[in-house]
């Protein structure tokens, strides 16, 4: 398994390199540059600025310098827009925020989603099942850009219980709405997948055998049915984890959390090349790692899988 993991990580290096190169060229080919503005700079000033950031060099040279600085100094370059911060600062500031509420959303979505799904499958065609299915579908139909306004109107404007945005060092009052907004739609999907997977498992031969030999229902469910049930759920959870970290753009912007999503979108619009690349690399690396962890988790859930 160790050898397999190492092999996967080695393959990740050219993958990320390819990502950097593709992103670098796409970015530079987009019309407009970091210093295009409504008040166009006099050519001389523009030339001064471009020289300062090395943007007057040929593209291949810029790419090479960029990669060199990352590999040798772990320096992802300066921000063109925020003069007193570099990319490392921006990521160091925004990523912990995204990670915190992303992880919380993930845990919420998974725990509630899986519980709902299991309850629905065990009490198949009962009111619990209908309730869980209804809730699951409703949650799935509420993506974060619908949940955001609903939550903020309810809890901030009408009830006045929660602050309408900000982060405040991650104080719990500030966490509730972003976490719920981000979690609901994934929670719905997880509940649905768990339910159908559980139903299928409960109808399989080994469960019938387990029941036939007189095991109590609880043991049948926990010891025999749960693991195989979770296999398709886990394959869904891997991408979900990446999504809640990276797909939090809306939540960041809506709740002004200061997370990385804001920097990501902002840097694309302002052509802040280094910030955009830096965040892309981070997200790319994250995707690779999470995919690997998902694959390794399979082996634990399903003894038939060996690496």
């Amino acid at each position: 398994m160790l050898a397999y993991s190492l092999r996967r990580l080695l393959v990740a290096i050219p993958t990320i390199l390819l990502l950097i190169v593709a992103c670098f060229f796409l970015m530079h080919f987009a019309p407009g540059g970091p210093f295009t503005s409504e008040r166009p700079l006099p050519p001389q000033v523009l030339a001064n600025i471009e020289a300062r950031y090395g943007l007057d060099q040929p593209l291949w040279k810029q790419l090479w310098d960029y990669l060199y600085n990352i590999v040798v100094h772990f320096d992802f370059g300066p921000s063109f827009k925020f003069k007193d911060r570099d990319v490392n600062d921006i990521i160091a500031q925004g990523f912990p925020i995204s990670l915190t509420y992303g992880t919380l959303s993930f845990l919420l979505a998974t725990s509630v989603g899986v519980s709902l799904g299991i309850a629905a499958a065990i009490k198949h065609n009962s009111w619990i099942d209908y309730f869980a299915v209804g809730l699951g579908i409703a949650a799935q139909a509420l993506p974060n850009f619908i949940m955001g306004p609903i939550l903020i109107l309810t809890f901030t404007l009408w009830l006045g219980w929660l602050p309408g945005g900000g982060w405040n060092g991650g104080q719990w009052q500030y966490l509730i709405m972003p976490v719920i907004a981000l979690a609901t739609s994934y929670m719905g999907s997880i509940a649905r997948i768990t339910r159908s997977s559980m139903l299928e498992v409960l109808n399989s031969n080994f469960i019938r055998t387990a029941r036939a030999k007189g095991l109590p229902t609880r043991t049948v469910i926990w010891r025999h049915a749960l693991k195989p049930t979770l296999l398709p759920v886990v394959s869904y959870l891997g991408p979900v984890f990446v999504y809640v970290l990276t797909g939090s753009v809306f939540v960041d912007i809506y709740f002004s959390t200061g997370g990385l999503g804001q920097a990501y979108v902002g840097s694309a619009l302002s052509r802040d090349y280094a910030v955009l690349l830096g965040v892309t690399i981070l997200y790319g690396a994250l995707t690779v790692v999470v995919n690997l962890l998902t694959d390794l988790a399979y082996a634990w859930f399903d003894p038939k899988i060996r690496y």
Binding site: A30, P40, N48, K83, D84, G94, G148, G164, S256, G266
Partner: protein
């Protein structure tokens, strides 16, 4: 030497009266209103500010913060008049190309060092230094400071900039051309002083709250990027005794509807009102919804260069399209925020600017439509040969609404087919700047309160003249206005020519449309540049 202390009466009054009496606990020294115990002002900004370095900052929200942290030679009062800032007075020589500013002796930086003329010299040299490559270096060029242009171009050394500290309290500025409105330009953040010692010690990181030293009424105490920045009273500020607001918090809220919700929930003292919502909010919160004119215009520009369509080279076509725009529909139905209709390029709110009686403004819309049809027919366009073109705007809900309204007016009244196209901001700027358009949206906010900040856009060699309008007489008038003692009649004539030739279609002039908590005192609604200073505000006890 002619002495010219243009200190306005209002400025004199406020400085003397306030200076005379220390603030009585709990009441405002002038108005006698009961003051709130918590003097914290919280407002929304659309986006993270670019910097709080005076020579680097390039966005409005950054400049607002910088104006609190640093103090330039001159300030503006609530009406936008010049009042003393770091300088108490200035004199100008007879040829109006050497200004001498006298700095106040009691001004200090937040670390206790005195504010000297040398701090301004350092800052101004910094602004033009190719090494810093300030995005606002051009402003120093616009101020006509001697050698600024050559230094920016790298042809001269920064030491040759026409600015000198005669002694610690005397700053001399030499201009390459007489510039009557030069003192007005010293209220711009690019001209604010910078602390040399601190910048040399910390480099680019000098603006971080733990390092920054400033000479304004406030110091930066907290900055959480993309979330908030906090500035608090500077105990070393020379006029600290008369400053009432203790703490100012700028919250970054990208979405204007969220900002409005948070305002209504009591989290903010000020936020912008989204387009179209002003009438409703005015009805529900008459004390809080406010609208006042601002120094910005909104227009569409014709591409009259070689790459533009043949039709737009005919002034009749351009004028017909302008005539057919029912401005009242746009301002009253689409935006509904109290914006003034525009028939001239420079807003009426501009200082010393008399709006010329352009013919179009005095006609009824029916008359305008009639004339538009005639002019278009004269130019050879009609039902058999309809005029078609593409109009571009940058992607935004408000711009789309205006563009749709315009194209419908043209379609219904003139049978013109205007195809709408929207582009992301940077792409839009690039295309418009390269004349890859037929008709494009434009908007401009004055860099200083003088009509030339707008009209210069129509000068043939202006870098901002994206439509490439070219009229020798306009160029001549604008050049003459630069050094004239009374440029108003020249501007009036420029506007007349523009109204006649219609290189642009002025649509409306901006209004500041805000929700402002009624306990915020002294918001400068009459300052059309919206150069506000937190030190002049106060919170009234509720």
């Amino acid at each position: 030497m002619q002495k010219l202390v243009r200190t306005s009466l209002a400025g004199l009054l406020s400085s003397t009266i306030i200076a005379g009496a220390a603030i009585a606990a709990g009441t405002h020294p002038q108005t006698g209103e009961a003051l709130a115990d918590d003097q914290t002002f919280i407002y929304r900004i659309l986006d993270e500010h670019s910097s709080v370095d005076p020579q680097v900052v390039e966005d409005v929200s950054g400049a607002e913060i910088v104006r609190d942290l640093f103090e330039g030679l001159m300030n503006q009062d609530e009406e936008g008049n010049l009042v003393p800032g770091a300088a108490t007075e200035y004199t100008v020589n007879d040829t109006k190309d050497v200004y001498t500013f006298k700095l106040r002796g009691d001004a200090k930086w937040s670390n206790g060092d005195p504010v000297t003329a040398g701090d301004f010299v350092f800052a101004w040299k910094r602004a033009v230094d190719p090494e810093l490559s300030s995005p606002y270096a051009w402003f120093m060029e616009l101020m006509s400071i001697e050698n600024a242009a050559d230094i920016i171009a790298g042809d001269k050394s920064v030491d040759e900039l026409g600015v000198k500290a005669i002694d610690d309290q005397t700053l001399e500025v030499r201009l390459s051309a007489p510039l009557p409105y030069f003192p007005q330009m010293t209220t711009h953040s690019t001209t604010f002083p910078a602390p040399q010692k601190v910048i040399e010690e910390f480099g680019d990181a000098w603006t971080k709250p733990e390092n920054i030293v400033s000479n304004g009424a406030y110091v930066l105490t907290e900055h959480l990027p993309q979330e908030r920045s906090v500035r608090e009273r500077n105990e070393m500020y020379w006029d600290n005794d008369n400053t009432i607001i203790d703490k100012v918090v700028a919250l970054v809220i990208n979405d204007e509807n969220v900002a409005l919700t948070r305002y209504l929930a009591g989290e903010l003292d000020r936020t912008e009102i989204p387009a179209g919502q002003y009438p409703r909010l005015k009805e529900e919160h008459p004390e809080e919804a406010i609208s006042f004119p601002r120094l910005c215009n909104y227009y569409y520009t014709f591409n009259v260069s070689d790459s533009g369509p043949e039709a737009f080279k005919d002034p009749n076509v351009r004028q017909a399209l302008s005539l057919a725009v029912d401005r009242a529909i746009i301002t009253e139905k689409v935006l509904a925020g109290g914006q003034p209709e525009a028939y001239t390029f420079a807003p009426e709110a501009t200082a010393n600017f008399t709006v010329p009686a352009v013919e179009m403004a005095s006609m009824s819309q029916a008359e305008r439509d009639e004339l538009a049809k005639e002019l278009l027919a004269e130019a050879g366009y009609g039902p058999d040969n309809p005029l078609s073109f593409q109009m571009v705007y940058n992607t935004a809900e408000n711009h789309k609404k205006v563009a749709v309204a315009l194209s419908q007016m043209w379609k219904q009244k003139l049978g013109v087919n205007a195809e709408l196209a929207n582009m992301e901001w940077k792409v839009f700027l690039e295309e418009r700047g390269n004349q890859n358009f037929e008709l494009a949206r434009g908007a401009w906010c004055g860099d200083y309160n003088e009509a030339s900040t707008f009209l210069d856009l129509l000068q043939s060699d202006s870098g901002y003249n994206d439509g490439k309008y070219n009229n020798a007489r306009v160029d001549e008038l604008l050049t003459e206005a630069k050094t004239s003692d009374d440029p108003a009649p020249l501007y009036t004539e420029v506007e007349r020519i523009i109204a006649q030739e219609t290189p642009v279609i002025p649509i409306y002039h901006y209004a500041g449309v805000y929700m402002m908590d009624s306990d915020v005192g002294n918001w400068p609604v009459n300052n059309v540049e919206q150069n506000w200073y937190s030190k002049n505000l106060y919170k009234i006890a509720e």
